[in-house]
Symmetry: C3
Subunit: 350 residues, 3 copies
């Protein structure tokens, strides 16, 4: 991983107000104050770490413009308005260098069906499989070993990491990013008992990801029983999440790792679901609903609701119940003591 | 996704008792009453949605034979005995059209070891890998990028979706369906501490899926430490489920998404496990056991048991405990008030 | 799966103190006493199963040296010091036979970039993809359909099962074993709200697996926002686990299936996390910390801590709270009864 930023380059990227100290060797990594070495860039993002600056081995440190210290030997200070934001600027430049868009074209090992439409500006990595009737939009990038099914659509400027599978007839909008192993369009889990056996219910719908959706590694999204499973524009889904058939997720939601959403549930916009939360089927969650990590939700939630616990209750109540539950030993003792006192009051002279 | 049903076709498929209204344009989709457009089929599956019929934009609506209304302009009614069942018939026909069995044969890019036995009627998709000694049964279908390991067996008429991995020596019965990314036969998680290090315990058993088993996307089933991890006939497993080594699951069970079953646990027939439930190792669950979503089970359950909560207790008790736990604030207050009253009774004249 | 051990071979492998009985047919499987057939090896690993020995159909049984019984017709006893250990020896020999290291070299279908360095002693299976600048160490084995990204390093004697993805720039130490579908180096889940939209935060760090790390099937490990996500030497991770960006796991830990660890959390050495446990972000867990299955941890834990429940509390307290919570119905009744008694005491003569 060949990073190399010269000091002037860095100062320009972060729009430094002042450069204190100098060095000729390039910066080759980024690390926290405590872990950085002489070739690393570090930053003071939170005032509580200020004491670590003087002892940090970092070669270059982003500090607030009004930071009271001065660089010690081996350090260079870049004074900036907001060190965290400055660091993000460096990371953005770094990302563009480390992951330049691959050149357009098809790796010769890719298997593209005769009737697929691959835009000439798209990039197909080694051993990708594009089935009949699929459409790969302008500027889309597919890393190695991806599979796009029949008549599926990968929108312009999507980036599919290695091993992503997009099922037949599913549709991805523009600029979606899918992490390795993500599965879009597995069959929904629909079965019904018939005479003691379990019979499969056909799942003939699709999955639609609107523009700017992100899907995490090995996450699974099931095709609808009929019509569509939908993820709204700009929603970000983390790793190992399960989205069942006919779920509809609104726009700009954050769905954290290992969340599961059961069939036909609808989420509004700007919802935030904590890790490992589970949502039962056929529910409706309004806009901006939040669920704490590991929450198990079994009822509808109106807009702006914040639920926690299993079964979920409003966050404030859940916090209170947790505190009281921890006081159960005390409560049991108190009740025993009350019973004894009452006994002595009721029968004082026996 | 080119669906096209003419009205007479639809009427025949659903065995309509009466057709009210007419249209020449084909039906091209299926949607709920509220969401359907003029080219969609919809249905009145639940009487509570009856008011939506008159305002639905659906081109054709499946209604109960005795439904009291009449089609408005642009609507056609197909009167049927059971609209939900009629819809399922349409979906079945649709599925057969959208996913016809691929033609027999091997895609030229498939890599088949010299000693593998692939039935001539089987279909191997692009970039499949079939290892030495593997057997692919008659009529089996493997989509793109599947891997079948050494001496593994894929039974007749199985359908492996893209990227499925079947490990060495594992055995799939007839008509199993595996969704994309499913892993059958990873090593069991067996380790033991030896002198402060963790040493791996060899896992030399296999996984056996009996006939008609369904495995969800990115679900993982581990090979036994020795002998077999078994999934019984007709059992259906959803996405992202973990089945550990030496687990034995009975017949006709439903294992919902993100469930985890730890090593050597045995399930009877017709069990139903709710989403994200976890079952500890070395347990025995009888026939027809049910676990609620997110349940954490740490003890055996006899036949017909229904457990809920973490740690799991019988469902009825769990429901009662949840109600009482929510009344803790009230209980704490009541005890405080009792203590105060008792104090005043005990010392009335001070 | 062609196992075949002759009796003398078995006796030698387990270093038998005595062989009682004889047979010429080879042993072809391993099974428990109850399930074994005439061609199976079984073992008495736990005294409580002693009554099953006499009725077992196993052809050969490993029994403790001082076991009081004698083989019945069709049985051979191999008397050994520790039957469980003896069985492990057999399994080790068996594993080496069933999974011999594949020969060095590249399958002709593998796609290796011109600038990748693949050690001549490494083995690349069918349809592997090795990108520019990647390094594959001596003796490493990659099964079918693996992908190693740009400038990534796979250490000597690693074994990557089929479909493993190692992201660009990530580093695996020596002897790591990755089960099918594991993803090392997906993007971290970093987003920030900007003017009502969610903007992606670049993730420019890597994942480092130290020596002897095991990663389960379809498990996902995210690259750091910057610097490194680290898994310490000898740590074993089960299936479907989520390790978020910038997590640091110590040495010799056991992370059971479906665990999730959120971003920037640090674990010490020798930690053990039960199945489906979740750990919030930015926490610090000391050495030897244990978490029960399904635990939801939201606070730091010092060395040797054992936490359970959601939200997690020390194990002993959690056990006590569970017992008391189950006595809530009794407590509510008792308080009602106290209230009634107090009422009669306070107003005795009304």
């Amino acid at each position: 991983m060949s990073i190399a930023f010269s000091l002037p380059e860095l100062a320009a990227v972060v729009d430094a107000r002042a450069v204190e100290g100098g060095r000729t060797a390039p910066i080759r990594g980024i690390a926290s104050l405590a872990e950085a070495g002489p070739d690393d860039l570090s930053f003071l993002g939170n005032p509580k770490y200020a004491p670590e600056v003087a002892t940090s081995r970092a070669g270059v440190i982003l500090v607030p413009a009004d930071f009271a210290g001065a660089p010690v030997a081996g350090q260079v200070f870049l004074r900036v308005d907001k060190p965290s934001y400055a660091l993000a600027l460096v990371c953005s430049v770094l990302e563009a260098r480390l992951w330049p868009k691959p050149p357009a074209g098809r790796h010769p090992s890719a298997v593209v069906a005769a009737g697929a439409q691959v835009d000439p500006s798209a990039s197909l990595g080694p051993l990708c499989v594009i089935d009949e009737g699929a459409i790969i939009g302008a500027g889309a990038v597919l890393d190695a070993l991806c599979h796009v099914g029949r008549e599926a659509v990968v929108g312009p400027d999507c980036w599919l990491k290695s091993g992503v599978k997009v099922g037949d007839f599913c549709v991805l909008g523009a600029r979606c990013r899918l992490q390795p192993g993500a599965v879009v369009g597995a069959d929904g889990f629909g079965f019904e008992p018939v005479a003691g056996e379990i019979r499969r219910i056909p799942q003939v719908g699709v999955v639609v990801l609107e523009d700017d959706v992100e899907v995490g590694a090995n996450t699974t999204l099931d095709r609808a029983r009929f019509s569509r499973t939908v993820v709204g524009r700009g929603t970000k889904i983390d790793n190992l999440v399960q989205i069942a058939h006919n779920v509809r997720i609104g726009r700009q939601c954050l769905i954290t790792a290992q969340v599961g959403i059961a069939g036909s549930t609808t989420l509004g916009d700007h919802c935030v679901l904590g890790g490992q939360a589970g949502v039962a089927g056929h529910l409706t969650l309004g806009d901006r609903v939040r669920l704490g990590a590991q929450t198990g939700l079994f009822e509808d939630v109106p807009a702006d609701g914040f639920m926690n616990g299993t079964p979920a209750v409003p966050f404030g109540l859940e916090r209170r119940l947790v505190v009281l539950a921890r006081r159960l030993p005390e409560l049991f003792k108190k009740v025993d003591s009350l019973a004894a006192s009452l006994d002595s009051v009721a029968r004082p002279s026996t």
